[in-house]
């Protein structure tokens, strides 16, 4: 438990001008926890760009909102549920989905899509492997359980394995919803005298101090915190969604907020603080699932599927009628007042009295020391063995198979087939693509989404890794033809009280800020998850970024080659790499089993031009297939394009070593197959970028020659078998 520090307690005394009682101390502890107050990161988060012509609502509300034209808007955000998912994977992940969905529909938007970024320890880890497999199965099951029943499609995401997540898995959930401009609601308790209404599930003892648990490191005692994890009820949430949207349409609701972290405490004081009002509630009126709950427990409970709303005085009955129709509790528990105080009563007796604004917005702000180099567990220079390695003649067919069967690169079908990725019939491109595409019915606009993280690059250089991350998300969107417009981020880091960890956080934020500004993708909200450490070992810096893009609704251009005899082109060119920039690649990780050097070099200006070119190629219909070159480099990207029966004969020449030429991960490259290579070349020329013809598609084989030497020559059945079954094999019972 991260209790208030002595100086924080002094600040509380100064605000109250007296000693806080137990309930008040509890309220301050959760509201001023890292999770709720961002006290270590707030100073630096201010560096992020948050505005553009499209941003209707930026950070500070439950979700960011972007204008998508024709009077329509989208709300989206990402949240982590890392700590609960380690303690109780199924419910931890399930309630993670539930929480972010409430953030979306509390603003009035109907959830349209969910994506998840997952991080686990390796499934074959000699010590933690069986626990890692159990956590993965639980997390995936929990996400499926909640999202499928609620009826929102889980359209994509990513899943990466590193030993640093053995004791600290990450579950970051992104959700996006859609509505019309006039349908936007805010979490504001406006209108003195208006009733404060509690709706949804009853309050129990579950999840008490969840927010402060999420703000501390794991120790041996953490396993005893299982009772701190909440239990989700997606059916209840579905009813809550429909009832809330219907109630909003009555016009009787003036403000609404979900009860997430810190439950009733957070929703009351934040709604009051945003409106500059006071909120007075009586806990005796709160629907309770258990008997004998103390004010402390009721205020701090994190029971799921609850909302707090403020209705226009005199129109309560309209709201109650809607909730009654959906079979939900809706009870007036208090009033909006004019004195700015959060006044909590229990059967008329005041048990807590705190000024809303100071509680919600005046949390301590820490400028944590970060004047050291970010923590880096790897050397700059490659190991001597690598230099010797590059002189050997390798079996690159075997290397390619090793990569395609690795946890990071293999097909995640086993995971996403458990998710309903089609419900609501808007999914134009689902899991397994570079970006997911969801159409907005009644418009001709579709939204594309990319969710990514690259901790392997960020641990080598947080600043460069962050810039590469923004570039990659934007490239994924551009590859499907969408123009990136806005972003949300989830910053997963270790203990910020350690300067070398704080330095990682600061450099990552600054890298994100620079690149998001450059690519014109303001960050409209997000989440920071710190103290991801177990027994003193921190996770690698893991920013997860979700970027959304807009496009005209059209049949998707997908990854697989479609026809034989088409020209294969590399828009952006072969890229460049040296040995130092090769140390963070999947090849170094999976084949060489080591880590060194720096992330691939990024020229943001060139990247932007490549993206402009590929969008034009795709949107004008010149590409039959398109795929971003990412982890595993060109060879893996070509294999991924070849998974549906059409492969290619590729000939490249360069002055790079074979390994580097085939597997380097230089950015700004997109593979297309096209019947119109001259047109692609013209578009590339107009944008001042390279577009190389590197081969021709053909049936059933993938062959890659480098400098006239055949490096890879493999039947597609074989590559596909390895790629498709790797994850299932790693999870199979013989490992258990």
């Amino acid at each position: 438990m991260s209790d208030l520090t002595a100086p924080e307690l002094d600040k509380v005394r100064a605000i109250l001008k007296r000693e806080p009682n137990e309930t008040e101390t509890g309220i301050f502890t959760v509201m001023w926890s890292e999770h709720c107050s961002y006290k270590s990161s707030r100073l630096h988060l201010k560096k992020l760009p948050t505005r553009s012509d499209r941003v209707l609502v930026g950070p500070g509300e439950n979700a960011g909102i972007i204008d998508i034209g024709d009077n329509w808007a989208i709300a989206f955000k990402i949240e982590s549920h890392n700590h609960p998912s380690f303690i109780e994977p199924f419910q931890g992940a399930a309630t993670g989905v539930g929480g972010i969905l409430r953030d979306i529909f509390t603003m009035g938007a109907r959830p349209l899509a969910v994506m998840d970024a997952l991080r686990f320890g390796p499934l074959d880890d000699p010590v933690a492997g069986s626990r890692n497999r159990r956590i993965l199965e639980g997390v995936v099951g929990g996400i499926a359980h909640y999202g499928n029943c609620f009826g929102v499609p889980t359209v994509g995401g990513e899943c990466v394995f590193e030993p640093c997540y053995n004791g600290n898995p990450l579950v970051n959930v992104f959700a996006l919803g859609v509505f019309r401009h006039g349908e936007i609601f805010f979490g504001r308790a406006t209108g003195v005298g208006n009733p404060v209404i509690y709706v949804g599930a009853k309050t129990g003892r579950d999840g008490i101090h969840g927010a402060s648990m999420a703000s501390s490191e794991f120790t041996e005692e953490s396993k005893q915190k299982r009772p701190n994890v909440q239990v989700g009820d997606p059916f209840m949430e579905k009813l809550l969604l429909e009832a809330c949207l219907e109630a909003m349409h009555t016009g009787a609701i003036v403000g609404i907020q979900d009860m997430g972290a810190a439950g009733l405490t957070c929703s009351t004081c934040e709604m009051g603080s945003r409106a500059g009002t006071g909120v007075e509630i009586d806990l005796a009126l709160v629907p309770q699932r258990e008997t004998g709950m103390t004010p402390y427990e009721i205020m701090l409970s994190e029971s799921q599927e609850r909302m707090l709303l403020v209705a226009a005085s005199g129109r309560e009955q309209e709201v109650f009628a809607v909730f009654k129709k959906w079979g939900l509790d809706a009870v007036t528990i208090g009033r909006v007042t004019d004195d700015g105080m959060l006044r909590v009563k229990d059967r008329g007796v005041v048990v807590a009295e705190i000024p809303n604004r100071e509680l919600a917005d005046e949390a301590p702000l820490y400028d944590r020391p970060h004047g050291v180099a970010p923590y880096r567990p790897a050397p700059i220079e490659p190991p001597a063995s690598f230099t010797a390695f590059t002189r050997e003649k390798r079996n690159f067919n075997a290397d390619l198979e090793t990569l395609l069967s690795s946890g990071d690169l293999c097909s995640k079908r086993w995971i996403w087939q458990q998710y309903d990725y089609m419900v609501r019939t808007n999914t134009i491109s689902g899991p397994g693509g570079d970006a997911a595409i969801v159409r907005i019915k009644d418009t001709d606009t579709s939204v594309a989404m990319s969710l990514d993280g690259n901790s392997r690059y960020c641990v080598l250089s947080p600043r460069e890794g962050a810039r590469l991350l923004v570039a990659e998300c934007c490239r994924n969107l551009s590859t499907v033809g969408a123009t990136p417009v806005a972003a949300t981020n989830n910053l997963n880091f270790g203990n910020p009280e350690r300067p070398e960890i704080m330095a990682q956080l600061v450099e990552t934020i600054e890298g994100l800020a620079e690149a998001c500004r450059f690519f014109d993708t303001p960050i409209t909200g997000g989440n920071v998850s710190l103290y991801n450490e177990t027994l003193g070992e921190a996770i690698w810096p893991t920013p997860v970024l979700g970027i959304v893009g807009l496009m005209k609704t059209a049949p998707p251009v997908t990854i697989p080659f479609k026809n034989e005899g088409r020209t294969v082109m590399l828009v952006g060119g072969l890229g460049s790499c040296d040995e130092i920039r090769f140390g963070g690649t999947q090849y170094a990780k999976t084949v060489l089993r080591t880590l060194w050097g720096l992330p691939p070099a990024l020229d943001m200006d060139y990247e932007k031009r490549v993206q402009t070119a590929i969008r034009k190629v795709v949107n004008e219909g010149h590409a039959e297939s398109a795929h971003d070159v990412g982890g595993g480099g060109l060879a893996v990207a070509l294999a991924e394009c070849s998974m549906h029966g059409i492969g290619a004969a590729i000939e490249i020449s360069s002055d790079l070593h074979f390994e580097l030429a085939l597997f380097h991960e230089g950015p700004s490259r997109i593979l297309v197959s096209t019947p119109a290579p001259e047109t692609v070349e013209r578009i590339a020329r107009e944008n001042n970028v390279e577009a190389l013809r590197i081969g021709v598609t053909m049936k059933e084989r993938l062959r890659i020659d480098h400098n006239a030497v055949t490096c890879i020559d493999s039947p597609l059945d074989r590559l596909r078998g390895v790629f498709e079954h790797a994850l299932e094999d790693q999870l199979a019972p013989q490992h258990a």
Binding site: C149, G151, K238, Q417, Q418, M422, V423, T425
Partner: protein, 235 residues
């Protein structure tokens, strides 16, 4: 043709079914709330996919007691067309309108993917516009879609030509690859695949349209028949 789409608390494919028949097929469709004791002026009813009442006891086990199901039973008894999709199939089985049971998938996991089904009979209101043996690509999305029936029931289904769709690549362990069946009167159908998700090529497939087109064709033919019958009587 006027479709009615039943909405149980927890239905989540209700809007998709409504959209498919109204926007993709161009017919009229309206929602019917679960506590409604009548179906209103409709020509066919769809029980959509989802998790009716949360499916916490057993899929469809609580839905069968809802007021609307009494109206659906009466509608079916009068020969009205009833299509149960996924959770709707489960509700029909629990309600006794169709035989057998839907168990947890063989792999004990939810499965969402396009599957290929084969049309096993065209002699029903739901498949009359399809060809015998035609292969349709339609998505499944369920955790409990493994069809099971006792030997006698299975024999009767086969003998009476009541198996409408079989999986080519069985995703859930269903007995005899059964993906969809109909009632003895042939006017009530249940299927695990989602035809409403395959009514528009833009979202992956338009193969599911044939199910709705068959219903529309059947109803139009029946109405013409009834009209000419009335004409004969009046003459």
């Amino acid at each position: 043709m006027r479709f009615g789409v039943v909405v149980f608390p927890g239905s989540n494919c209700d809007h998709d079914a409504w959209y498919a028949v109204s926007h993709n097929l161009g017919h009229s469709a309206e929602f019917i709330w679960h506590d409604s004791v009548t179906l209103g002026e409709i020509d066919a009813v769809i029980l959509p996919g989802g998790f009716a009442y949360g499916d916490y006891l057993r899929c469809g086990a609580i839905a069968k007691f809802s007021p609307v199901m009494k109206a659906v039973r009466e509608f079916a008894a009068r020969g009205g067309l009833v299509l149960g999709i996924c959770n709707g199939f489960q509700v029909l089985v629990e309600s006794g309108l169709l035989p057998g049971a839907l168990l947890r998938n063989r792999e004990l996991k939810f499965v969402c993917r396009p599957v290929t089904v084969r049309v096993e009979t065209a002699k029903t209101p739901f498949t009359c516009q399809a060809r015998l043996g035609q292969r349709l690509t339609i998505p499944v999305a369920h955790g409990e879609g493994c069809y099971f029936a006792d030997d006698g029931t299975l024999a009767a289904l086969n003998r009476q030509d009541r198996i409408l769709l079989r999986y080519v690549d069985n995703p859930n362990g269903s007995l005899d690859d059964i993906a969809g069946i109909c009632s003895e009167g042939r006017n009530v159908m249940g299927m695990m695949p989602h035809p409403e998700r395959a009514a528009d090529q833009l979202v992956g497939s338009a193969d599911g349209r044939v199910i709705f087109e068959s219903m529309i064709h059947f109803f139009a033919a029946k109405s013409r028949g009834a009209a000419s019958e009335r004409a004969t009587v009046h003459a």
